[in-house]
Amino acid sequence: MIPLWMYLVVAAGLFVIGMFGVLSRRNAIAILMGIELMLNAVNVNLVAFWRYQTPTKLSGQAFAAFVFAVAAAEAAVGLALIIGIYRRKRSVIADDVNLLKW
């Protein structure tokens, strides 16, 4: 059987790639994709931990389902906000919507 740590490494890799996407991409849609990648990394983690640590209790799997649902809700709100900005600016580049400074 594939050892647990391999799953964890994949998950950590996905998480870091997602994080890199959020921090480096200028396109708001790509940033959103990065966030989704981070949440999916969590799902890999949760399901792997569930399978290897507590296969008799369903809490890990159930949690992964919650993460799906929340990720969907987040994507819906995020895309709506991005569309709102696109309608005004004809652009989804995060730098173009920078009225307020950090």
Partner: protein
């Protein structure tokens, strides 16, 4: 493998304040469709009624002294009904009621009057309540999202305005990024302990430390990531960047509500996770919990940065944003104090007391800005309150009360909150960070008093528009701030029952 739970196993009665709010918000969402456009006052009233009923139910059980060990769990421990839950519910519901009162007239005159505003506000209040009631990391995560997602939408509620739209996008991106960290941390905690229930985590931590397994570093990493995710919600320093921009861009009535609700929710969850799940997570060679030093370092940075940068602000909304960062720092002193064995209950009480005081004061302060603000969203600079005392003596007096309370002057609620927080810090031997707290409050007096100076001693045409729901909200907040300041035992009585018995 499964047995279908019966309804009585769920212990619905214990969750009554939250269940009523959830039902009310869902019904209101549908009802609002039948409220004609010009008569959204009805929706606002219904929202107030829902919050009021829920508040009464929460108040009825407030006096009960129930500790976590015997506290009634509901939904198989996902929801905990104890004194802490009730206190958090009361704070959130009071904030939400003030939030509705502050919003109604403002939405009307800025052309944003839509029923969804109140529904979203109810849902986010529910999220904040559930964070206080969480008995499980699943609840923390779902409640955090229930709190945050409506707030993202509300920040963008003035959708014709670029600033509001941008603040919503910025809040959303950074918020979702932070919840990614939170949930990754939760997954690691689950991996290290094999459970997501706080009681189970607490028990597993002991075994983990006794066995001296390397897994404890997984737990440490998980706790750190959870701290980062919740630190974002409460605007603690390395994760505070969104605060000034979002507060400045979002509609002021939203900020009045969100500045308090997001903080209450975040701190409630922090208290639950740290004081209940991980209090005994002590690495070898240390006397306090592993997270304590990190938390007090964050507290110190938060207080210093928030207070120092606030001095340079000229926009009132930005000034209060940095002030709210600073206040997160004060509360974090109490959170750090929870890491010392024996001080945890006192510190958790201090957190609740501070949040209650902060709720009245901060909603009130933003409500005054709502009154001063023009219909186009401008006119929120400190110059715009020049001479306000001549034009609007009562409004200026209320603002003075709020500023004094935020500065922590005796006989205001803010002083009582600071007193308990600093006391908890000293009880836990966190002397350096408490001293930083006292010193930075002295700095904060400068910028709060500056606002009072501008209102009373500068010439100008300070104008404000006050309609009665707003006036009502401001008066309640001001009177509340003073009453809690004059009678501190009201606060300590409210928090008296809070005892986070470890384990459970």
């Amino acid at each position: 493998m499964f047995t279908v739970p019966s309804l009585s196993d769920l212990n619905l009665a214990a969750t009554l304040p939250a269940t009523l709010l959830a039902l009310g918000a869902s019904v209101l969402l549908v009802l609002d469709l039948f409220v004609p456009k010009g008569r959204k006052a009805l929706t606002a009233w219904l929202a107030l009624a829902v919050l009021g009923v829920s508040l009464i139910v929460a108040l009825l059980s407030l006096g009960d002294v129930v500790d976590l060990g015997t506290g009634e769990g509901a939904f198989f421990g996902l929801y905990i009904a104890d004194s802490f839950t009730d206190a958090v519910s009361v704070i959130v519901l009071v904030t939400a009621m003030l939030g509705v009162a502050v919003a109604y007239n403002y939405l009307e005159r800025t052309g944003m009057q839509r029923g969804e505003y109140y529904v979203l506000l109810l849902f986010s209040a529910l999220g904040a309540m559930l964070m206080g009631a969480a008995g499980d990391l699943v609840t923390v995560f779902v409640a955090l999202e229930l709190l945050s997602i409506p707030l993202y939408i509300l920040s963008g509620f003035r959708w014709r305005d670029e600033g509001s739209e941008e603040s919503a996008l910025k809040y959303f991106i950074l918020g979702a990024f932070a919840s990614g960290f939170l949930v990754y941390g939760i997954a690691l905690i689950y991996g290290a302990t094999g459970t997501t229930a706080f009681g189970g985590i607490w028990a597993a931590t002991r075994d983990l430390l006794a066995a001296d397994a390397a897994t404890k570093y997984v737990l440490l990493l998980g706790a750190g990531m959870v701290l980062a995710g919740l630190g974002f919600k409460v605007a603690a320093v390395p994760f505070h960047m969104w605060t000034p921009d979002v507060y400045q861009g979002a509609p002021t009535s939203v900020v009045a509500y969100m500045s308090v609700a997001a903080k209450v929710g975040g701190f409630a969850a922090l208290v639950r996770v740290l004081a209940w799940g991980l209090p005994d997570f002590v690495l070898s060679g240390q006397s306090a919990a592993a997270w304590q030093s990190t938390v007090w370092l964050i507290a110190a940075l938060t207080m210093i940065l928030g207070n120092v940068v606030a001095v340079a602000q000229n926009n009132l909304k930005r000034l209060l944003a940095y002030s709210s960062i600073a206040h997160a720092g004060y509360i974090l002193i109490a959170v750090a104090a929870m890491g010392t064995a024996g001080v945890a209950n006192e510190a958790a009480r201090a957190v609740v007391i501070y949040l209650m005081a902060y709720a009245f004061t901060n909603v009130g302060a933003f409500a005054v800005i709502v009154a001063v603000e023009r219909d186009d969203g401008g006119h929120t600079d400190i110059d715009n309150v020049r001479g306000l005392a001549k034009e609007q003596p009562v409004l200026a007096a209320s603002m003075a009360v709020f500023m004094l309370s935020l500065a922590g002057v005796p006989l205001t609620a803010g002083f009582v909150g600071k007193w308990f927080v600093f006391k908890a810090g000293l009880a836990a031997d966190l002397v350096p960070v408490t001293v930083i707290g006292v010193l930075t409050s002295a700095i904060s007096a400068y910028y709060y008093l500056r606002v009072i100076w501008f209102m009373y001693f500068e010439e100008g045409e300070g104008k404000a528009q006050i309609a009665w729901p707003l006036a009502w909200g401001i008066s309640v907040a001001a009177i509340g701030t003073l009453i809690l300041g004059f009678f501190p035992y009201l606060l300590s009585d409210m928090a008296r029952g809070i005892a986070l018995a470890f384990g459970g």
